[in-house]
């Protein structure tokens, strides 16, 4: 054993020396000021695939579908954009998506804030752990499985209607409507929101709250005037994430919406695959990208990146 490890260590050093020499040959000292950029190359290349994809979508969106051949025409035109922007169907789809994003963001934050607060402030380690596990478990279960769960709960012969029948109440249409989609989305977004709020609440010292309360403010006022404003980075971060994820969601309206509560992503999907019109679908996708980006940029401009930045120093 002893001899083994003693021979191993020098060998490791030796290997390091070789690696070090090769590295120095490939990346001489004069280049060291660029080392940071070198480290970023793989990630930048990966993300570049998305940029290329967007370029393709942008290209497609500028060609109209030729119904005689079902191919996109060679000539450039803005027909798809004008078709998408003037259609009342797409207008109501866009408004429905934005409306849902506002509703879901509001309800999610309302539900998430107390959760994050109690989790951060919990005195007992066991309580903290319980809340953490209850949060992470659904977080690690994808949208499809959770939507399936809601189907079993809300369906015509689901849990709630069975309970109703037991109480002598008539069965209700709880599924395939707008409220079902909102419910599914709020449940899906809750863990995201809590996890983005928690660090911001941690950053607020207990002493600040104590101080406020010792000055005579009741807990409601302390909450509204001290805790909430100080948690702004978390509120910004979670709002951005919940709002944009809802705005662009596909699965919940598709599974819980029953075909009559389409969001923009569903309309894009249908453009590509139901209508076989990749031009129109691409134009809708570009509109969605623009909407989402505009929202993020405006919010960041007004309130900073919040808990979203990679770099903690910015806050």
């Amino acid at each position: 054993m002893a001899s083994n490890s003693s021979s191993k260590l020098p060998r490791r050093w030796h290997l390091f020396d070789i690696a070090e020499r090769n590295a120095a040959a490939l990346w001489p000292k004069t280049m060291h000021r660029y080392s940071g950029y070198l480290l970023l190359v793989p990630a930048i290349l990966l993300v570049f695939v998305l940029v290329l994809g967007l370029v393709y979508i942008g290209g497609y969106s500028l060609h109209e579908l030729d119904l005689a051949t079902y191919r996109l025409k060679e000539t450039f035109s803005l027909t798809n954009y004008s078709a998408a922007l003037t259609s009342t169907t797409y207008q109501s789809v866009v408004l429905r998506s934005i409306g849902a994003s506002i509703l879901v963001t509001f309800f999610t934050l309302l539900l998430a804030f107390p959760y994050a607060y109690l989790m951060v402030r919990a005195r007992q380690a066991a309580t903290k752990k319980f809340l953490l596990i209850s949060l992470f478990l659904p977080f690690f279960i994808g949208q499809i499985v959770r939507a399936y769960g809601w189907l079993i709960i809300l369906g015509q012969e689901g849990l709630i209607n069975t309970l109703f029948a037991g109480l002598g109440l008539p069965a209700m249409d709880l599924i395939y409507n707008y409220p079902a989609v909102i419910l599914g989305l709020v449940q899906y977004m809750l863990p995201f929101a809590v996890l983005l709020l928690a660090p911001a609440i941690t950053a607020i010292g207990r002493d600040v709250e104590l101080a406020s309360e010792s000055l005579g403010a009741n807990w409601m006022r302390t909450f509204l005037h001290v805790v909430l404003p100080m948690a702004k980075p978390g509120l910004v971060g979670s709002s951005v994430v919940v709002f944009t994820l809802t705005l662009t969601d596909f699965a919940m309206p598709e599974i819980l919406g029953g075909g009559t509560t389409d969001f923009i992503a569903n309309a894009i999907y249908d453009g590509f695959f139901q209508l076989s019109n990749s031009g129109l679908g691409s134009a809708l996708a570009m509109i969605l990208v623009t909407l989402g980006t505009a929202f993020v940029v405006i919010l960041f401009f007004l309130a900073g990146t919040g808990t979203l930045g990679f770099n903690g120093r910015e806050q």
């Binding site: 009342t88 109501s92 389409d262 695959f273 139901q274 209508l275 076989s276």
Partner: protein, 367 residues
Amino acid sequence: MKNKPLESLTMDRRDFLKTSAVVAGSVALGPSIALAEQKKPKEIIVRAWGGSWGEALKTGVADGFTQATGIKVRLDFTEDNEIKPKIWAAVDQGRIPPIHVNWDTTTNATISALRGVTVDLSDLSNLKGLLPLAKPVGMEGYPLVNTYAYVYVCAYRPEAFPDGPPQSWNVLLDPKFKGRVALYDDGIGFNPIAVIAGGGSLKDIPGNMEPGYAFYKKLKANKPLLGEDADFTTWFQKGEIDLACTISVNARAAKQSGIDVAWTVPKEGCKVDTDGLWVPKGLPANEEYWAKEFVNFALTKEAQKKWCSLLGLPPVYPGIEPPADLAGDVSYPTKPEDFAKLVRVPSKVLVENQPKWFAKFNEIFQG
């Protein structure tokens, strides 16, 4: 039927040249094709509709094919509209298409054929002697082969109609049935009928669809359920609807599970159409060969009889007796006078206009 007999009997010059080129080609490729024939793929992927439709294909065709060849058949339930652009992109980009055989509506199949992504099936040995219905209309050769006809019937719960079957499609607008009527979610099978029910005539299609759209706007107030094949069966089973425009197969499936469901052809008529099978271009030679063999197998008397009687639809193989429960039924047209009661929209009109009708339907019901 709009089949022009002349078209199928005479071979024009272009056809002749094409055929001889194919013959020459296959002579040149002779040995390699023979080799390819022997190499069986592990499985064949056939796109199908789910529910009772998929069951019928499995029992009626796929199981027999597996037994005869040893090749497994996997049914892929990707939606028909969704597989279309995926196949197109694969063929355009020279990739292997995602499926071997597509079970498709004749309209969608024709669109794919016009797009040039289908393999010619003219050399299938079992095409001989089939009813004229099998031949796709207005195209050279067999880029697809039709396998049966079907009717979008007016299906209803007799309990809700004590005075006998509904006489007119206008009953869909009756407030008595608010929230208890159903259509396909793109209006397929009803779009031309709506024009007639809305006061127009067959001649208005496709030039003037307005009477149909006006009918839809009134229908929207009656809150119809919108779904796909399997939904209709479920809705009838759960007693959620009284009336639907659906393919007879779905109503019959509900009836076979013990639910009291009947169907009729109202005075405005019902749309009759066909489904078919086709093979996408771009498969490896041996897989294409066995995909075509699958289609050929589906056209044998045995497979046609089993598959179509399970569906309850008239096959393209002549002389097959209808299942006992469907003899003389409106949903099982065989004779010219049966077809006379039904509405058959020419394939060309459907190909050029159906996507627009779907879009308009969506606009009315989603807007």
